[in-house]
Symmetry: C2
Subunit: 96 residues, 2 copies
């Protein structure tokens, strides 16, 4: 049982949220560095730009991970799609 | 300079992406645990459900963090809004 006042407890929760958000931004930044390298590799090595089977496996895997950590699997899937849409936009901008 | 074949280099990049995605899912799961606790605290302590000033500060901070890590600040902002929309839906579902 916390002995903090509700206002202080809220501040404490917000500190945690801010730390998680900083972690998310930094991991996303690194993820985009890798997808940028993937885009360059695919262009140079003439590999197909998209791979539906790979994407399907990513979604299935993330849904399983989400279930195990009590995160809504539908949200995890939407989240991955949100990121993949951004990656595709990056690739388009890089190509133009 | 990598000595991997393009196909092996792609597999290596994908392993990194899978690790980052697992990290993102687990941090998101923990973030939702905290926002759930925030929702419960606000209901019990009769605190206002939304706080536009706090949200503005979160966006400004994330944009700065994104800039520093070479992530598109507009994407960081869209990302935070995407998560906040989900949090609001969780709160609505919890209330109903």
């Amino acid at each position: 049982m916390s002995t903090l006042s509700p206002a202080d407890q809220l501040l404490s929760y917000r500190d945690s949220i801010d730390n998680f958000d900083a972690a998310l931004v930094h991991i996303l930044a690194e993820r985009f560095r890798v997808t940028k390298a993937v885009g360059e590799l695919k262009a140079v090595a003439d590999l197909p730009p998209s791979d539906p089977k790979r994407e399907e496996e990513q979604i299935e895997r993330l849904r399983r991970l989400a279930e195990r950590s009590n995160l809504d699997p539908d949200f995890a899937e939407k989240f991955l799609e949100f990121i993949i849409r951004e990656v595709i936009q990056h690739h388009k901008r890089a190509r133009d």
